[in-house]
Symmetry: C2
Subunit: 370 residues, 2 copies
Amino acid sequence: MTTIDDFVSIIPAGGVGSRLWPLSRADAPKFLHDLTGSGKTLLRATYERLVPLTGPGRTMIVTGRAHRAAVEAQIPELDDADIVLEADPRDSTVAIALAAAILRRREPDVIVGSFAADHVIDDERAFRRVVAEAVAAARAGAIATIGITPTEPAIGFGYIHAGEPAGVEGAPRAAVVRAFVEKPSAQVAREYVEGGDHLWNAGMFIARADVLLEELAKGEPELAAQIEELAEAWDEPARRGPAVDRIWPQLKKIAIDYAIAEPAAARGRLVVVPGDFDWDDVGDFSAVAKLHNGGRRGRLAILGDQGTVLADSASGIVVSQSKRIVSVVGIRDVVVVDTPDALLVTTTANAQRVKQVVDAVRRSGNTDAL
Amino acid sequence: MTTIDDFVSIIPAGGVGSRLWPLSRADAPKFLHDLTGSGKTLLRATYERLVPLTGPGRTMIVTGRAHRAAVEAQIPELDDADIVLEADPRDSTVAIALAAAILRRREPDVIVGSFAADHVIDDERAFRRVVAEAVAAARAGAIATIGITPTEPAIGFGYIHAGEPAGVEGAPRAAVVRAFVEKPSAQVAREYVEGGDHLWNAGMFIARADVLLEELAKGEPELAAQIEELAEAWDEPARRGPAVDRIWPQLKKIAIDYAIAEPAAARGRLVVVPGDFDWDDVGDFSAVAKLHNGGRRGRLAILGDQGTVLADSASGIVVSQSKRIVSVVGIRDVVVVDTPDALLVTTTANAQRVKQVVDAVRRSGNTDAL
């Protein structure tokens, strides 16, 4: 497969991943961890997955100032121009639309695709085929998203309701998006999976940069104008800082789903290409355990220092980040995350509740551990 | 109740309590912990339980050299003469018989009673009544033991088979011991509890010092002679050291049950007084949890630093000895023991298996953590 000349990837690297606390935290967010045992951080794996599509030097990372050094260490291939540093987090619309606006000034007809920095996809060939279709649809003027074919009636994801075929050349599987739907109940999720025309919303958007910004301007004209103003000053060193200082504090925090995708879908401008590849957003420690144990129960995954973990009749996952001895005895589906300043003990079935613990830690004032 | 003039208590303070690892360990053994939340270590509580029986200045502690400072800090009432420091551990016969031999040289008709340093008894009045009967039986020439009335068919204890009444003045409940029996099967334990004439062996022995040593000499004449030789030199500062250096390495390691109690029972010289008080040997973390949660399930006991423990839908026990945040989420009957260099995660049902972990740590060479 050859690279796509007019395509640039955008990787927003921002979320802490608080359901993976205390492993994932403000100064060591999820995307900077190797959660699969591949030897690569999720960010590095995401980057390497995209380079064959875009060619080298065609990736833009959007991240916080605090993560600049870590991101550069992970991807030494990046130039300064390939990193957008956020003064503070302003949600996904600012991250993606600002990168798109900067790229469009450099290359007016560019097609951009945004991909989370912390998802796992193993079947890279299938991924590339699907992205190539999405790029074809984007070139024809649509905003394209990739909807993952559900493998179970998950209630933790939003769904995309696919409609009639979009009839776009080069994108035979693209369908018009009828609607984005919020996380469903278990019953509704089962109906979605049986029905076959609902796909998981994996937050991947591919579009011409000008189309994306045009759609943003329709629903959020002020935000779109602010982003254009920032982008216009961005590549001039003397002007960027003052523009950021002036404009950044006013930027609206809004997810791209609400600011662009849903309104564009309502206007019939969104298409979805079904993603028939494996995909995991590694949303909690249950997912991490599943990735490591190959989906088989009764096993104990060990991340980190294996030498200090002693297990006897235990299954689940142990994350060993302190130098201490960790002994786990006679306990099934356990989650033990041992870090120098915080310990979590739960079960895979309760892995989603970790976010509440993080809230409790915040309330307790121990914010150093977050 | 008045004190018993001719009675001295011996408290062997030796066992590490490896089923309570990593809380209990070589340099912080079980008897130096407050496992009940009373604010007192088990050793201090044992001492305070016995002083009303013996009067002040009538307690002898037998412990390792490494624990001398900790024992003195716990019981500042002790004089140097009240502490027997072991050169290295030689099991319970040496600990108790040496103390008895030293005490007999100071006070020929003394009655001694040995009581573990790490058991829990709440009903002290009932305890004192039972000990007073045992002392009466001892004064009449018997070796008396206290057998705890079983509250469940426990398989973790040895049992004492009580026979006909001993007919001793001042000890109306004393019965002749038919036999000591090893830890039984569950079926046999049920029969014992139903039958009513089997009691738990709590390792408490009360006897005239001379009777105890006489019985030892019958079965273990060499050990008895060595102990006498040590005791004879003990109270002369210039002679104690050389005697210890010469004799200690030769001392046989044998439990008092085998060296004295069982043979004496076979000779009809042992009586048992039923102990109708609560008693707990706090053998594992399940017992610690039960002591704290008042036997009620569904509660989470927290030992140590309460302020850093965050629990959500959790029951069992958390021991927090590091300064870290410990979060326990959605897990029942859990045991989490968090110390600076070792972490244990198990369930109350598996608490007995902790000893195997300690063996595994030893094999792994991490002996600093033991």
